[in-house]
C-alpha cells in the first residue's frame, strides 16, 4: 500500500513519456509538430497553474501576465542586450518570482470572487504595460525573438539537427525539447504535491482552519504556491517566445488567462495529467472545428458546456472515477 500514490505518480509520468515520444511515429507534418510543441509549452504553464488552482484551491485569472512577462523579458534580453537564452530565462523567472511574491502577499488574503478580481487586475496591468510601452516592447505590433540557444548552439524550428546519428528537422527537435521540458515540469510538480509542502498546500484547499490548527502557516503557503505557479508560467512563456520567434501582448492577454484556467478546469482540477489533457483538447479542438467556419465558436462553446455539465470534475477525474467504480463493481461481483 505504501507505494500507492508514488506508483500512481510514476504511472502518469511514464504514460506521458510514452505519448510524447511515440507521437513522432504518427505525425510528419511540420504544422502538426508546431502545434504539438505549442501545446507542450502551454501545458507546462497549466501544470503550474494547477498547483495553485487545483491543489491549493486559490484562483488566478491573470496568469497569462506572468507567462507574458517571462516571454517579454527573455525576448528583450536576448534580442536587445545579446544575452544568451538560459540566463535570460532564469533571471526572468527570478524577477517574476519576486513580483509574484510582492503581489501575492497582499491579494492572497482575499478569497473567492475578490481574489479573482484582484488577480484579473494584475493580468490586465501587465497586458496594458506590454501594449503601451511601445519603445521597449513594440506595443501591439509585438517583437521578434531570437532562437533559443545553449552555449552558442541554436535551436530553431527551421534548422536541421542530428540526434544519436539521426537527421531530424528543427520542428521535431523543438517538439522533443518541449516534450522533455513538460516531463520535467510534471515530475517537479508531482514531487511537490507528494511532500509535506504539498500536503500543506492541499490542506489550504481542504480546510484552512484544520491546516492552521496543526501549525500550517496558510498565508505563507498560499504565497509560495502563487510564486511557484508564476515561475512555471514565466519559464514556459520564455520558451514559447523563442519557439514562436515573434511575440505580441496577446501572450499576456485576459483571453489567454481564461484559456489557461479553462484547461485546468476542463482537464480536471488537481490532476496533473488531467490538466495536460485539458490543454491538448482546448488547443486541438479549434483546429478540428476549423471546418465549421463561422460555427466554430458555437461548437467550441457547446462542447465545453456539455463537458462541464456531464463531467463537472473534469475529463480525467471523471473517467478514472468511472473506471474505478466499474472495477469495484466487478470485484464485488466476484466476491
Amino acid at each position: 500500500m505504501m507505494a500507492s500514490f508514488s506508483q500512481f505518480r510514476l504511472k502518469g509520468l511514464v504514460f506521458l513519456a510514452i505519448v510524447i515520444f511515440a507521437l513522432p511515429l504518427f505525425i510528419t507534418n511540420p504544422f502538426h509538430y508546431g502545434l504539438a510543441t505549442q501545446i507542450a509549452l502551454i501545458a507546462g504553464a497549466v501544470v503550474g497553474l494547477n498547483l495553485l488552482v487545483g491543489f491549493a484551491g486559490q484562483i488566478s485569472l491573470g496568469h497569462a501576465g506572468f507567462f507574458g512577462m517571462g516571454a517579454y523579458f527573455s525576448a528583450l534580453m536576448t534580442s536587445n542586450y545579446g544575452w544568451s537564452a538560459i540566463p535570460a530565462l532564469v533571471v526572468g523567472a527570478v524577477g517574476v518570482a519576486i513580483i509574484a511574491w510582492a503581489v501575492g502577499r497582499p491579494i492572497l488574503r482575499l478569497k473567492g470572487h475578490y481574489l479573482s478580481m484582484a488577480t484579473l487586475a494584475v493580468g490586465f496591468i501587465i497586458a496594458i504595460i506590454l501594449n503601451n510601452e511601445r519603445e521597449i516592447t513594440g506595443g501591439p505590433d509585438g517583437m521578434p525573438v531570437p532562437p533559443f540557444d545553449v552555449f552558442g548552439w541554436e535551436l530553431s524550428p527551421f534548422g536541421q539537427y542530428s540526434l544519436f546519428g539521426m537527421e531530424i528537422s528543427g520542428d521535431l527537435a523543438w517538439y522533443l525539447f518541449a516534450g522533455v521540458v513538460l516531463l520535467v515540469a510534471v515530475w517537479l510538480a508531482q514531487n511537490l504535491i507528494d511532500s509535506p509542502i504539498g500536503r500543506a498546500l492541499r490542506s489550504v484547499h481542504g480546510s484552512e482552519v484544520a491546516a492552521s490548527v496543526v501549525g500550517v502557516n496558510t498565508a505563507k503557503y498560499k504565497s509560495l504556491v502563487f510564486v511557484i505557479s508564476a515561475v512555471y508560467a514565466s519559464v514556459m512563456g520564455a520558451l514559447y517566445g523563442h519557439f514562436q520567434g515573434f511575440i505580441t501582448p496577446s501572450v499576456a492577454s485576459f483571453d489567454f488567462s481564461i484559456l489557461l484556467i479553462t484547461m485546468v478546469v476542463l482537464g480536471g482540477m488537481g490532476s496533473t495529467i488531467g490538466v495536460i489533457i485539458g490543454a491538448v483538447v482546448l488547443e486541438v479542438l479549434p483546429q478540428v472545428l476549423a471546418d465549421f467556419q463561422e460555427m466554430e465558436m458555437v461548437m467550441f462553446g457547446l462542447i465545453l458546456m456539455l463537458t462541464m455539465i456531464f463531467m463537472p470534475k473534469g475529463l480525467l477525474p471523471t473517467l478514472t472515477g468511472y473506471l474505478n467504480k466499474r472495477r469495484a463493481r466487478s470485484a464485488g461481483g466476484d466476491a
Partner: protein, 252 residues
C-alpha cells in the same frame, strides 16, 4: 507549579451578545478538563478563543505562562496546542493517512529544494511520518482506512481521524470539541477509552461534551457554563452536588 492553560477574565461579545463573559479557570498539565453547559452556553466560543480562532474582547489566555494574545492558531500549534472541531475539519481532497500526516507538519522540516528533486532526506522523513501516522490511526481505531479517500469514510471514522491528526502534532494539550456528538453508545464507550489512553500518555485533554455519563466518568475537573458565565467549577463530585448546576443543567 504554573498551570498549563490559564484563562483570566476572558470575554467575547458578538455585537450585543455576550457569548463568553468574564470566564476564569486554569488547567494543570495531565488533567482531563471538561467544559459543559446547555446549548448556546458559549462552550465552542470559549474553545475558539483559547485556540486563537477568535480574538477576545477582553481578558487573556496563557499557555505555559505565556500570553497567547495576537498569536495565530498555527503559532499556538507550535507551542503545543492542537484541537478538533464540532463541525469536523477534514481535508476531503486527501486520503485518510495524508490528513494525519498533515498533523506532522511542524515536525517535518522540509525545504523546496529537497522537495522538488525528491532527495533522500525527504523520502526518509516521509516514510517516518507515514509510519507514525499509521500508528496513530491504529491507536484511535481507524487503522483500516490508511489509503482511503477521506471523502469515502464514515462519520464516526472521520471523528477518530481528526483526533489522530491532532495527536500527530505531538501536542501538550489537545482540545476536543464534542467528540461524542453523533456517535452511538458503543462508539462513545470506545471514545471514552481512547480519551483515557490519551491522558495516560501525559497529554492534557480539554473537552467540550454533552454526554454527561462520558464527562463525569473521565474528567478530573469540570467547568459549567451557562449564558456565557461560569456557573460552577470543580471535581465531578462537587459538580454533581452543586444545586445551581442541578437546577440549570441536569434538570433537577
Amino acid at each position: 507549579m504554573t498551570a498549563l492553560v490559564e484563562i483570566n477574565n476572558l470575554s467575547k461579545a458578538f455585537g450585543g451578545v455576550h457569548a463568553v463573559e468574564d470566564v476564569s479557570f486554569s488547567v494543570d498539565a495531565g488533567q482531563v478538563y471538561s467544559v459543559i453547559g446547555p446549548n448556546g452556553a458559549g462552550k465552542t466560543t470559549l474553545f475558539n478563543l483559547i485556540t486563537g480562532l477568535y480574538t477576545p474582547t477582553s481578558g487573556e489566555v496563557k499557555l505555559n505562562g505565556e500570553s497567547t494574545a495576537r498569536l495565530q492558531p498555527n503559532q499556538l500549534a507550535e507551542r503545543g496546542m492542537c484541537r478538533t472541531f464540532q463541525q469536523m475539519q477534514i481535508c476531503m481532497n486527501m486520503t485518510a493517512i495524508e490528513n494525519v500526516m498533515l498533523g506532522r507538519h511542524l515536525t517535518l522540516k522540509s525545504n523546496l529544494f529537497t522537495t522538488l528533486f525528491r532527495l533522500p532526506a525527504l523520502t526518509r522523513g516521509e516514510k517516518a511520518a507515514r509510519e507514525k501516522a499509521a500508528e496513530l490511526m491504529e491507536f484511535v481505531g481507524c487503522g483500516e482506512y490508511l489509503d482511503t479517500d477521506a471523502s469515502a469514510m464514515s462519520y464516526g471514522a472521520l471523528k477518530r481521524l481528526e483526533i489522530a491528526r491532532a495527536l500527530a502534532a505531538e501536542p501538550k494539550v489537545v482540545l476536543l470539541d464534542e467528540p461524542a456528538a453523533g456517535l452511538n453508545a458503543v462508539e462513545t464507550a470506545a471514545l471514552e477509552e481512547l480519551i483515557r489512553k490519551i491522558a495516560e500518555q501525559g497529554i492534557t485533554v480539554m473537552l467540550v461534551e454533552h454526554d454527561m455519563k462520558l464527562v463525569m466518568g473521565i474528567s478530573d475537573r469540570l467547568l459549567v457554563l451557562n449564558y456565557g458565565r461560569v456557573l460552577a467549577e470543580g471535581t465531578p463530585e462537587q459538580i454533581r452536588a452543586n444545586p445551581d448546576v442541578i437546577a440549570a443543567y441536569l434538570g433537577g
